[in-house]
């Protein structure tokens, strides 16, 4: 018993020393970021500047002992628009400047971004609210019980995040180091106190059962003495820890006991907006509503579940934004089988596509009467193709041929009279946000994300985001097919040997190295056919002149006989 008491005392001492050392060297951890202390010239908390010094994508570099509690990112909403020399920075470049690099406590990111993320990504969120959707882990259909359980878990996770903790299999754990140590100390003291009490009781029982045996009585007395001494030491150590904790660490272990006695609560720590709040935008997929928007300086902006109106596909969806404000958003109309009229006539896409490899004219999408179409007809209309080409061209102009998550404002600037423009833009931004929040932290527009935007043009609905970033473009397309299958349409695959593609198809490419190992693959939007052997595509993440380029959008001519081309996905009505 004496050994245990000794060990407990040592653990407390070392723990306090370590904690003190950590806190002494991380003065900014607990003081960041305060919006009211933002510098008027740089727009940043000076303390943040200490951490955010590097340029380029490296952003700020937290010390390794901070990496678990800090997150560095580019803040596109940086209020200042001037560089260090007082020269105004163009808006599009803001997100790439060192001054726009900021650090924030990562605890919220962990809580909301990682630990609750399986519930927050739009596609996964839809799994929760919609019975009959596949479980992301087991691929089995979720029952109502499972959905209820997941929703309950989500609520717990949210509450945990809001109290600055992270949600684990054994419950909510505080993430800040002093909170964690405080918790351990309190639990340890409780356990030690109970053990001491049991020890005394055990000694007393031994005396009562000694039957007057002097040796046994002596041993039991010694045992009780040791236990009482241990209890005194524990109380004494609690006093030391409390003095150290309140003086150096800023917490009191007495406070929780007071709270229990007084039945009072400390005010919950304010959950500051995390990275997710900065560039995600509230959206309406039409069928499901989900949230994500949050003004950066808005307090209490934990994610709040939306309240979709399941009874209406075309009606409004009432949902809560991440700051708890309920809003009504109209869902876009369901797609129709007839061509959707645009708000205004769209000029035919005869101009040069940026980068201008030439003038691309989409071929006719509908064959003459009586002409059979190998692979079946497409639901895509000429107008949709024209809209898609126009959107691509304007997006390339607005974004400088590249789309990155750090500056998606260029997407908003695309303002052309085409159908479903808002849904398309929202789909692109949502996809990129979700990708950046994925474990791979992909910050560039991907080929599949761009395809989904075109699908949104067809359907008027968002296609959700990737549940995973592992897999090929084709395999990642599968969830998309499932999504649209729910709308009585499907993306049917047509082998390239059967027929040439039709405009509006999605050309699928495989990828393999010199040894024949498969890679990620590629998918592109067919915007026109030249002849039976050649067609043109619009695409993302694959550039002109046969180059890969992160986040770029481009046009390309494709040879149908190319061995990397395998076929086309065509939007068709389900048989």
């Amino acid at each position: 018993m004496k050994k245990y008491i000794l060990i407990a005392l040592l653990v407390f001492s070392i723990g306090c020393t370590l904690t003190y050392t950590v806190e002494a060297q991380t003065p900014t951890v607990t003081s960041l970021p305060q919006s009211n202390s933002i510098s008027t010239t740089t727009g940043r908390n000076p303390a943040e500047s200490m951490l955010c010094g590097a340029t380029g994508q490296a952003c700020c570099q937290p010390k390794w002992y901070q990496w678990f509690s800090k997150e560095c990112f580019f803040d596109k909403d940086e209020p200042t628009k001037y560089d260090k020399n007082g020269i105004r920075i163009p808006e599009g470049d803001m997100s790439r400047t060192p001054d726009s690099c900021r650090c924030k406590p990562r605890v919220q990111v962990y809580g909301a971004d990682n630990l609750c993320s399986r519930y927050f990504t739009p596609s996964n969120y839809s799994r929760i609210v919609e019975p009959g959707i596949l479980d992301p882990d087991t691929n089995a259909i979720l029952t109502q019980d499972q959905i209820d359980r997941i929703n309950g878990e989500l609520d717990s996770c949210l509450k945990c995040v809001q109290s600055n903790g992270f949600y684990t299999a054994i419950g909510c754990m505080p993430f800040e180091i002093n909170s964690l140590i405080k918790g351990i100390i309190i639990i340890g003291l409780f356990a030690a106190g109970i053990l001491s009490l049991l020890c005394i009781i055990f000694g007393a029982i031994k005396i009562q059962t000694s039957k007057g045996d002097a040796t046994k009585v002596s041993k039991a007395q010694e045992s009780i003495r040791s236990c009482i001494l241990g209890l005194i030491l524990i109380i004494f150590s609690a006093f030391i820890v409390n003095v150290l904790g309140s003086g150096l660490l800023g917490f009191s272990i007495v406070e929780p006991f007071k709270q229990v006695l007084d039945n009072s609560k400390n005010p919950k720590p304010v959950l500051e907006c995390d990275r997710q709040c900065i560039y995600s935008e509230q959206q309406d997929t039409g069928v499901k509503c989900y949230t994500g928007a949050c003004p950066e300086n808005e307090p209490n902006c934990g994610m709040t579940k939306g309240k979709p109106d399941k009874n209406s596909l075309n009606g409004g969806c009432k949902f809560a934004d991440s700051c708890g404000n309920f809003k009504e958003v109209a869902c876009p109309a369901m797609p129709s089988l007839t061509p959707q009229p645009s708000p205004a006539p769209t000029p035919p896409p005869t101009g040069t596509i940026t980068p201008p490899p030439g003038t691309i004219t989409p071929g006719p999408t509908t064959p003459g009467p009586g002409t059979p179409i190998p692979g079946g007809p497409s639901l895509v209309t000429d107008q949709m193709i024209a809209d898609a080409v126009l959107f691509h061209r304007e997006l390339a102009k607005s974004c400088g041929n590249e789309l990155h998550v750090f500056d998606m404002s260029c997407v908003d600037k695309v303002n052309i009279p085409i159908a479903n423009l808002d849904v398309i833009k929202a789909q692109i931004k949502n996809e990129m946000s979700a990708l950046y929040k994925s474990p791979k932290k992909i910050s560039d527009l991907q080929c599949l994300g761009y395809i989904k935007a075109f699908m949104s043009l067809y359907t008027g609905h968002g296609g959700g985001s990737w549940p995973s970033t592992n897999g090929t473009a084709a395999s990642l397309l599968e969830p998309l097919i499932i999504t649209y299958s729910g709308l009585q349409y499907e993306l049917a695959f047509i082998n390239k040997n059967v027929a040439p593609p039709l405009p509006g198809d999605f050309a699928k490419f495989r990828d393999y190295d010199a040894k024949g190992n498969p890679g990620d693959g590629h998918i592109a939007f067919v915007n026109g056919t030249i002849n039976g052997a050649q067609f043109t595509v619009l695409q993302a993440n694959l550039g002109a002149k046969y180059t890969t380029c992160n986040g770029c959008i481009s046009a390309m001519v494709v040879e149908r006989s190319n061995p990397l081309l395998t076929g086309y996905y065509r939007w068709q009505k389900k048989p």
Partner: protein
């Protein structure tokens, strides 16, 4: 409790605390190299190796596709772009001369096309239209 034991406990505690403090100080040195958490450009996409293969395939089998995908080209004496002729269902390459002499431009175009790996026979199969030289 034995006095020696008490002294041992106190001394042991002090030593351990000092060791802990030293270890913590060394480990938590502010200028410690940073663990980089920034895999920003880890994009799943077609590999450059596959694209090179595609490029080579087009160069050999379809000079029009190959050339179109290398455009626009902006050389010293000409600019080259392409359009799609819906009637002929073919790619038409347009050369906008920058030099005064059309003959010189044609020679430069020929050299450039040879330089990107096309054979003379392939170049002859291309539909190239020349604009008027700049005056």
């Amino acid at each position: 409790m034995n006095t020696k034991l008490k002294i041992g406990i106190i001394l042991g505690s002090v030593v351990l605390v000092i060791i802990g403090g030293v270890v913590a100080y060394v480990m938590l040195k502010p200028d410690q190299p940073v663990k980089q958490v920034n895999p920003i450009n880890n994009s799943p996409a077609m590999s450059q190796e596959s694209l090179d293969r595609m490029k080579e395939f087009d160069r050999i089998n379809s000079p029009t596709t190959y050339l179109a995908n290398l455009l626009p080209a902006d050389e010293a004496t000409f600019k080259m772009t392409y359009t799609i002729d819906p009637v002929r269902k073919a790619l038409v390459f347009t050369v906008e001369p920058k030099a005064l002499s059309l003959q010189q431009v044609q020679e430069d175009v020929q050299k450039w096309l040879l330089g990107i790996g096309l054979s003379e026979a392939q170049i002859d199969s291309l539909i190239i239209e020349y604009g008027s030289p700049i005056n």
